[in-house]
Every structure is written in structure tokens, then in C-alpha cells.
Assembly symmetry: C2
Homo-oligomer: 155 residues x 2
Amino acid sequence: MQFFEDFAVGDTHEFGEYDVTLSEVLEFAERYDPQWFHTDPERAEAESMYGGVIASGWHTASMTMRLFVDGVLSDAASLGAKGVEELRWWKPVYPGDTLVVESEVLETTVETDDRGLVEIRTRTFAERESGEVELVCSFVSDVMLARRNGTWGSP
Amino acid sequence: MQFFEDFAVGDTHEFGEYDVTLSEVLEFAERYDPQWFHTDPERAEAESMYGGVIASGWHTASMTMRLFVDGVLSDAASLGAKGVEELRWWKPVYPGDTLVVESEVLETTVETDDRGLVEIRTRTFAERESGEVELVCSFVSDVMLARRNGTWGSP
């Protein structure tokens, strides 16, 4: 189990992969972001500036989160996040892409005897069906982590 | 249909409601944010600092997006968003809450002959089962909108 003290500025990790499927893109968008360029492949191909249906940005962030949980937080004494800065959707994510994520610890701050805050940047890359790899999304999260000897340290 | 020119700084809207259910909280978290305080109601009630299972922050943002699409973007010539700033999860969202959203246009910027950028702040409030209403989430989106007389103006 990794506690606040185990995170150091400059730590980097790379983790993945997440296969983006058309059915999941449509399912997420129909529920949470029903704009036609996320939900209607035929119209998106004919009319959208993206050339085809693309994943909702919130879906891309959520898929990134899944990789981040599996790759980092599942072994850490995470207490949740306070927020996110600089969430950017640099390029569209298409069905058929495979996502991989890189993370970097930017800052660590003691908050209380029990808890610290770790600022982590994640960068999400899409490997396209063509083999090309592009940065598609990035954000900086403020993650709360239990301190090793705090009350929340042995949940 | 609302185009870029129809959005003015200071415009506000209020829209909702979204009923947060335990089954949806668990379903979203199991797929995208499988941390125990999102997926395990019994352990969350016994051990979490939140006193019970809470929605993933990405789920809260996604439910907010659904209300925002239904309330604003479905009638607008939206071309997607570039990113988000100042995403904050002020308070936990619990199963049984009802979400409502307020939006405010902060800034409008012409980008090209075809497209403008509208900066919109959304604030998400939870009405608790007790009847209390609390701010739970807020963020500022950079939404691209087609201009009325642009190439993308009549999609």
C-alpha cells in the first residue's frame, strides 16, 4: 500500500491499455453526452468536422481514470480527489483507438496529520488503427492520500 | 438553433433534474473509477471519511454534462469542447441526491470565420434526501460553437 509519503515530485508511470469500442462510445454518449457527433456515426461521418463519431471528452477522461486507478491508485491509500485543472482534449478519440496513460507527480503538500495532497498530471495517448500515436487528453488532478501514520493510514 | 452569436456574457440558465441512484453510482464506478469508496457501500459506510458510498467525481461531471446538453447544447450549434478549467468537487454526491445545474457565460471569443469559443461556468447542486441543497461540483468549459454565417453554420 502506497501512502502520501511514497509519492515524490518527478515520479513517472506509464500504464494502459484501454481499447475504445464503438459500442462503448455510443453507450456513454447516449447516457451522458448525447450530441450527434458522439451518438450518430452516419451523420458524424457525413457532416462533422471530426470525420466520424468521436468519444465524449468526459468518456475519454473516465477511461483515463480507469487506467489511472488500475495503474496507480488501486495500490494507494487514496481518499478521493478535490479537483482537476487544465483538462484538455487535444485531439478526438475514435472507436478503434487504444489508450495509454503517462502520469507524473508535480507537487506534494501535507494538508493535515492524516492527509496529504498530491498533484499528478496524466497524459492520455491514443494509438490509432494506423499505428500513429497522438496525445489526446491531459489533466492535473489534486488527489488526497492518507499519510502513513495518520488516522486514515490503515483503513 | 443557437449559434455563437446568440451567447452573451452574463447569460444564465438553470436546468435539471438528475436523480442519482445507487445502481448507477456503482455501475459507473465499477467501469471507470473502481475505488472502494465508490464501489463498496458496506465498506464505505464502515470506513470511509464520507460516511457512505459516493459517486465518482467523473460520474458527477458526466451527469452534469447530461443536464447541460439537455438544457443548453441540444439547441445549439455545438462543435465540442476544447477543455475545462477549475473542475472542483466541493462536496460528495450520494445516491438519493437530485442534481440541478446553473450555467453562466463568462466570455465569448471569435476564433475563425466559422467558429467561436464560449467560456461557460456550470455549478452543480445536490438536493439531499434531507431537503438540504449544497454546491457539489463546478467547472468552466471552453465550448466551440458554429458562427451563424460560417461554413459550419448550417450543419
